[in-house]
């Protein structure tokens, strides 16, 4: 029982962590906040469903194709909408508002394209339950966990080892110095939005078989991810993962042992408490004036 709970908590927690990582990435690279991450996950899930179920593509192809499309979407949003807005001298709150309207548009688009019903994502594995060391586990849960961990590790190496990743970090730390060194700061910023959307979309494809795919599937995940990113120390990639896992465990264990009705309420209460007591988060990022 406890093992299944832990696996479940790790799964949902790493989903939050991965989506939250996107918030952190965007914040680090551009000092901005996007509230559309949850709906990016939703769009990713629908795209994945379409490729896998309707176009009969192999799962891995569906996943990679979705991630590619989501990357471009994020990049376009940053390059076209956000940059224009900033050029007009809008304050950062207006960018948040812009991302809120983007998320409304995305939900509406999803509604037109795929309808309002919950759609079943066909199972990816033949067996519905597998037995590992005497425990019955759902393979899709393990897949989600695996994909999340793979993405995190890949991102870690991309950011620390690849040339582009290093430029991204440099541009985030000191845009002036970075552009003086010949780093294309606008492109790295666009890429960070792209990667954030890509991660959210990709994770959408793998959680599709677990939760089903529907229009508002992203909003709660998006908010929890956000909460995780904050308590982990907003802008800190690793903090976002820790924070996401934290909320995964909180909600899994609260609903197993205390109350399932109030699990989200409790998560948000914790978030608010953390913001009051430790406004810089676990990893001490600057959030105050």
């Amino acid at each position: 029982m406890v093992i299944q709970l832990i696996i479940g908590a790790l799964m949902i927690g790493s989903v939050y962590g991965l989506v939250g990582l996107g918030y952190g990435l965007i914040y680090k690279a551009s000092g901005l906040m996007s509230l559309a991450q949850g709906d990016m996950l939703m769009i990713g899930a629908f795209l994945g469903l379409t490729f896998y179920k309707h176009l009969q593509l192999p799962f891995i192809v569906a996943l990679l194709l979705t991630m590619l499309i989501m990357f471009s979407l994020g990049m376009v949003i940053q390059r076209v909408l956000v940059t224009t807005l900033l050029k007009k001298g809008a304050a950062t709150v207006y960018v948040i508002l812009c991302t809120i309207s983007i998320s409304m548009v995305l939900q509406n688009v999803a509604m037109f394209a795929w309808g309002t019903n919950v759609m079943q994502f066909p199972p990816i594995f033949k067996k519905s339950v597998i037995n590992i060391l005497g425990y019955d586990l759902v393979p899709e849960n393990l897949l989600a966990l695996g994909v999340a961990i793979t993405c995190m590790i890949a991102l870690h190496f991309f950011m620390t080892k690849s040339k582009f990743g290093t430029s991204m970090r440099a541009a985030a730390q000191d845009p002036m110095a970075a552009s003086a060194l010949g780093i294309n700061v606008p492109v790295t910023r666009g890429a960070s939005w792209g990667i954030a959307c890509m991660l959210a979309g990709g994770i959408g494809v793998v959680v599709g078989p677990i939760f089903g795919v529907y229009m508002s599937m992203g909003s709660m995940i998006g908010q929890k991810a956000f909460a995780g990113a904050v308590i982990g120390g907003y802008g800190n990639m690793y903090g976002a993962i820790v924070g996401g896992l934290f909320f995964g465990f909180v909600e899994t264990f609260v609903s197993a042992y205390l109350t399932s009705n109030y699990k989200d309420f409790i998560s948000f209460a914790i978030l608010i408490l953390v913001m009051i007591i430790m406004p810089t988060g676990l990893f001490k990022e600057q959030v105050m004036e």
């Binding site: 007009k88 939900q107 509406n108 608010i272 913001m275």
Partner: protein, 330 residues
């Protein structure tokens, strides 16, 4: 002098026109209901304006205060049989108290984190009313909320309720104008413009941010209570995050930090929403487009355009217009 007469004339004609439209609308129950919604939203959005427009503190969780006002008044009126006129006031005060509670941490946070805190607050209220079945009847909501009655005469028709709301809206706007044109209002605006300089010139920034939150929550709570007694039914659906975003859209579209912006924004969005009843599925898209239109083309909303037009007419000969339609109200 000539200009002044002209503006007065224009204003009088506008008021007469509005009055005529209102008179026609009042002949029908449904149209009167729309007028009531415009008043209620105007009050809620005026509350948001005090916080966001004047003090520069964003909130994406005002649906939470709206819900607190609505549920407090409803539960007290229904469970204890108290006079709704009285419970509305309690709803307002409870909402204000929550405003102050939220403001304590909020007054320390910068924009992004403030946005998040207010979102979390709105979500918590929504979840609470959704799952606390015993108290709020959960997702099914509460039916048969008693009507407001004055001196024992219940206000049953939408027409009568509209006049009741008109008086309250008028008072709210008057109080808002007084507040903004005072020492306290100047402190709000100073905080929005430059919190460090405000602090340096003797303004207790934290205190005034809390005051702004309290006033804002109070008005939005009042609107929620008035809504509950108008419609006679409330359920969590009305108080989702979308409602917070809708208040924000109304404010931005009407014109932020202006006297009439909240009223104009509410009127336009209420009417458009009603006109689109048959196209409900496009509603979200429409709100989104309204926000994007404001963000990209009209940062000062409809009032901004009106001001600009007026400037253009009056300063045609002097050349440059002072009102800049494309300047953001940061």
């Amino acid at each position: 002098m000539l200009n002044k007469i002209k503006t007065n004339k224009v204003a009088s004609i506008a008021i007469l026109l509005v009055a005529a439209v209102v008179a026609v609308m009042l002949r029908e129950r449904y149209l009167a209901l729309i007028l009531c919604f415009i008043c209620i939203n105007s009050i809620a959005v005026t509350g948001l304006d005090i916080l966001f427009g004047y003090t520069g503190q964003v909130s994406f969780g005002h649906a939470g205060f709206y819900a607190i006002g609505a549920y407090t008044s409803t539960l007290l009126a229904k469970n204890f049989g108290l006079n709704p006129l009285f419970t509305i006031i309690i709803g307002m005060i409870v909402s204000m108290i929550f405003g102050i509670i939220v403001a304590f941490p909020a007054a320390k946070l910068v924009k992004h984190f403030l946005s998040l805190l207010t979102i979390a607050f709105g979500q918590m209220v929504f979840m609470f009313v959704s799952v606390t079945d015993k108290l709020t009847n959960g997702y099914s909501g509460i039916l048969n909320i008693p009507d407001v009655s004055i001196f024992g005469y219940p206000i049953k028709s939408n027409q009568a309720y509209f006049f009741f709301l008109l008086i309250i809206t008028g008072l709210v706007l008057l109080f808002k104008r007084n507040l903004i044109n005072s020492r306290v209002g100047r402190a709000f605006i100073a905080i929005r413009e430059n919190p460090h300089a405000a602090n340096g010139i003797g303004i207790n920034v934290r205190f005034y941010k809390i005051v702004a939150f309290a006033a804002s929550a109070m008005l939005t709570g009042l609107a929620g209570a008035l809504y509950a007694h108008l419609v006679g039914f409330i359920s969590p659906d009305t108080f989702m995050a979308t409602q917070s975003n809708l208040f924000m859209t109304m404010l931005l579209f009407g014109g932020i930090a202006t006297f009439l912006g909240p009223v104009i924004g509410s009127a336009i969005l209420v009417v458009v929403t009603e006109l689109m009843q048959s196209l409900v599925s496009y509603q979200m898209l429409m709100y989104a487009l309204f926000i994007l239109a404001v963000l990209f083309y009209l940062p000062n909303g409809v009032v901004g355009i009106a001001k600009w037009a007026k400037e253009m007419l009056t300063t045609k000969r002097q050349g440059k217009s002072r009102v800049n339609t494309t300047e953001y109200h940061n």
